[in-house]
């Protein structure tokens, strides 16, 4: 498995990196977060102009048809630069689900997303469950030829800024929580109440109340069975994105720590001369590179529609969580006090990492999922037929 980038992929990575280096200095990020805007509108428009908002969508949906490797490159750069703009929320989650849905309304919204004009959010979490797969107490009841939604959604990332919300709700009439179906809710629909706040990682989110929101019949994008299938198609790409973002964060934290420990003199010599510090840096590097291997493997399998991809995705999310915490915690430790300050960037990697860990299933959940999906498969050769991940490279 050698991820040799194509010329186009290399250009993409370079142009993203150049843009963020020139326009997304950490100081600017701080100024943005000190204000009241949920994210930088000018940055978002620049993303649109660079074609980044169209990157993962199929050409038939107006997109650029970028694959998993392209997503990896983008997310890694966004993680390295601690970008708070809601790419994951609007493009990957909301955009991914709309793309899986198809149809005219979805096409119109996707056009808006790709041009930068429209923001979306995926409202799935509730007090009782934090995963898109979780059973939900929010109810969708038939009413006047359409639907009536009632319930509360928790920690809806980008919910405050969203022009539309994709909301999970159960159609079941009996009992407590039920299997989620998916509904398209305009942000300004009567009965939609949003209580916005910032999150620890510099993003914005909201608590969402749906107080008898009346929707047309076509607002139901997926019934419960179809939603499970649609989410399964979106999930592994979303996990790749989060893992690659975490990888970028590890890179940023590690590079800063190497530089700092080489320059910082204590007890008459640079910190990086002390063996205990050197070995810790090596352990950070080991964790970072093992994690990178799984992220690359996931992209590789996704781009080949390999049935192993969900298992690799579970492995990657579990491993990235442990590795990302180890690297970002030790980055703070080896810096000392400076990394505990808001004005220095390194501590912010830890906060984003901790939030990523909580998104779309934590380490324990993904380890359990990995066990189910592996079912003894990990004891076999990597690929029993076809020669493994090299056949077509």
């Amino acid at each position: 498995m050698h991820l040799e980038l194509s010329e186009e992929q290399r250009l993409l990575a370079d142009s993203i990196e150049r843009f963020l280096r020139d326009h997304y200095a950490f100081e600017r990020r701080r100024e943005l977060l000190a204000g009241s805007e949920p994210f930088g509108r000018d940055t978002w428009q620049a993303f649109a102009d660079l074609g980044l908002l169209a990157l993962p969508f199929a050409e038939t949906q107006g997109g650029l048809g970028g694959g998993a490797v392209e997503l990896l490159l983008l997310a890694e750069a966004l993680g390295r630069h601690l970008v708070v703009e809601p790419y994951f929320e609007t493009v990957i989650l909301a955009g991914g689900l709309l793309a899986a849905c198809g149809g005219e309304r979805a096409a119109a919204l996707l056009e808006g997303i790709q041009s930068g004009a429209v923001q979306g959010a995926f409202a799935y979490a509730e007090r009782g469950g934090g995963l898109p797969e979780s059973a939900v107490a929010t109810r969708a009841q038939p009413a006047a030829g359409g639907w009536r939604l009632a319930g509360r959604k928790a920690v809806v990332f980008n919910g405050a800024a969203a022009d539309f919300l994709l909301v999970t709700a159960s159609e079941e009439t009996e009992g407590g929580a039920g299997a989620p179906a998916l509904f398209l809710v305009p942000g300004e629909a009567p009965g939609v109440h949003r209580r916005p706040y910032r999150t620890w990682d510099g993003r914005s989110a909201c608590e969402l109340e749906l107080a008898g929101v009346e929707l047309p019949a076509e607002a139901r994008l997926f019934d419960a069975a179809a939603f499970a299938g649609a989410w399964a198609r979106v999930r592994d790409r979303a996990l790749l994105f989060l893992c690659a973002e975490a990888l970028g964060g590890m890179e940023g934290a590690f590079a800063a720590t190497v530089e700092y420990t080489k320059g910082r003199v204590q007890f008459g010599q640079p910190l990086a001369r002390f063996q205990v510090v050197r070995h810790r840096l090596v352990d950070m590097y080991i964790q970072k590179e093992l994690a990178r291997s799984l992220v690359q493997a996931l992209a590789w399998h996704l781009d080949r529609d390999d049935p192993a991809a969900p298992r690799i995705a579970a492995a990657a999310k579990a491993q990235l969580s442990a590795a990302g915490r180890f690297v970002t915690e030790n980055a703070i430790q080896l810096h000392g006090g400076i990394a505990m300050t808001d004005e220095y960037h390194v501590g912010h990697y830890l906060k984003r990492q901790a939030v990523i860990d909580a998104l779309l299933g934590d380490r324990a959940w993904h380890l359990a999922r990995y066990r189910r999906l592996a079912d003894g498969g990990a004891l076999q050769a990597t690929e029993t037929e076809g020669g493994g991940p090299w056949t077509s490279s």
């Binding site: 498995m1 070995h279 994690a291 291997s293």
Partner: protein, 395 residues
């Protein structure tokens, strides 16, 4: 390249060539070394097939396989329970002679390594020179067209079976200790050599001490120039790091664990495989092993495309050994009380007695104990981390 077809070809050969006794030796292998007789029998079978030295250039008897084919071959051998071959001749000395040996040395020694006629051991460490290898004191003094060697080597694996030893010896006292070392090839039958076997924690002999008392070695047996032995030795160590296939080892370990889990109960009377806490820790180790496997493939894929692995080759050695040790600890835990019976003889493929422990638990403790060595030999994990730190920090 159709790797699937290649994998099937390897599998078909292994199916046919591995006798039950050879497979038994592979199943009972708990360290770097399998049963010696079985190892050499397998060596000769692979030699006749032309597959004994896949890592050597084809003109010297290699197979001409690319890196991925070699990876597949090693993986299939492990999963088929083939005993491991001795690495000292095939993995260490052979490539070193190809790089640094004279034409006469290559012509004489390489075919004998391939055929299994020569069994080599490695005389590097000394009682006073372990991780600090350059401080070695075994002396070689020039006397006409011979060196006279005095001193001792330790942790010399398989010296009690070997007929030859390659040694680092001190030929000059220089300010920088590395600058006074030479590399010699020595016939173990030379007068003045005595071998003292060392009984290991597993009750068996793999390591030896080798004493040199006025041992006369022809000057033509020196590899590289006099006092240039360190450069030669470093090449070998680099090869030792890169020449291992941890993914295959880890899969074999995972399969051993699966067998125990399917048979043994935990303290609550559940099958171990139904204990959620144990399974979570096993899954975590399995995921790490998967990450390491993809790292191996990254490095091999990169090497094939001409990239330099840099710090990644040390990373694979360090992480590969440490993950392996965690897997051994999990197997031991799963085996429960069956870890306790100490029957070294039961680990011989020819033993016909009745073991105290069930078959699936026989190797658990020996694997666990033996594999503690993996973070010590070939450059201790701490030394590997020093090497990586220099690489990463540039200071």
């Amino acid at each position: 390249m159709d790797y699937g077809a290649f994998r099937r070809e390897v599998r078909a050969f292994l199916d046919e060539a591995l006798t039950p006794r050879l497979k038994r030796a592979g199943q009972l292998q708990t360290s770097v070394f399998a049963d010696f007789e079985a190892t050499m029998e397998w060596h000769r079978i692979l030699y006749r097939k032309g597959w004994v030295a896949p890592d050597w250039p084809p003109e010297y008897g290699g197979t001409g396989w690319d890196l991925i084919q070699r990876h597949i071959f090693q993986e299939e051998c492990k999963l088929a329970d083939a005993p491991s071959l001795l690495p000292m001749g095939l993995q260490m000395l052979g490539p070193l002679l190809i790089r640094y040996g004279t034409e006469a040395q290559k012509a004489h020694y390489l075919p004998r390594i391939l055929s299994g006629e020569d069994v080599w051991c490695q005389g590097y460490s000394e009682p006073g020179a372990g991780s600090d290898l350059a401080s070695l004191k075994t002396r070689a003094v020039r006397d006409g067209d011979h060196y006279v060697v005095d001193g001792s080597k330790i942790w010399t694996s398989m010296a009690h079976h070997a007929n030859r030893i390659f040694c680092l010896v001190r030929t000059a006292n220089t300010e920088k200790p590395q600058a006074g070392i030479s590399f010699l090839l020595v016939d173990m039958a030379t007068p003045g050599i005595t071998v003292r076997p060392i009984v290991g924690l597993d009750g068996r002999v793999e390591q030896c001490e080798v004493f040199f008392d006025g041992v006369r070695v022809p000057v033509e047996n020196r590899v590289g120039a006099e006092n240039q032995g360190w450069e030669v030795a470093k090449y070998l160590l680099a090869f030792e790091r890169g020449g291992h296939h941890f993914a295959a080892d880890h899969k074999k370990q995972l399969r051993r664990i699966a067998r125990i889990l399917a048979a043994e109960a935990d303290p609550e009377g559940r099958l171990r495989g139904e204990d959620p806490d144990f399974c979570a820790r096993l899954a975590a180790a399995e995921v790490e092993a998967l990450a390491l496997e993809y790292t191996e493939l990254r490095v091999k894929g990169g090497l094939a495309a001409g990239a330099s692995p840099g710090a990644l080759s040390s990373l694979i050695k360090v992480a590969g050994c440490e993950i392996g040790q965690r897997l051994d600890a999990l197997a031991l835990e799963a085996a429960g009380l069956w870890c306790a019976p100490f029957q070294p003889e039961a680990l011989s493929p020819d033993w016909t007695g009745t073991p105290a422990a069930p078959d699936h638990a026989l190797t658990a403790m020996a694997c666990y104990v033996d594999n503690r060595a993996s973070t010590i030999y070939g450059g201790a994990a701490e030394v590997q981390r020093d090497i990586m730190a220099r690489h990463l920090l540039g200071l």
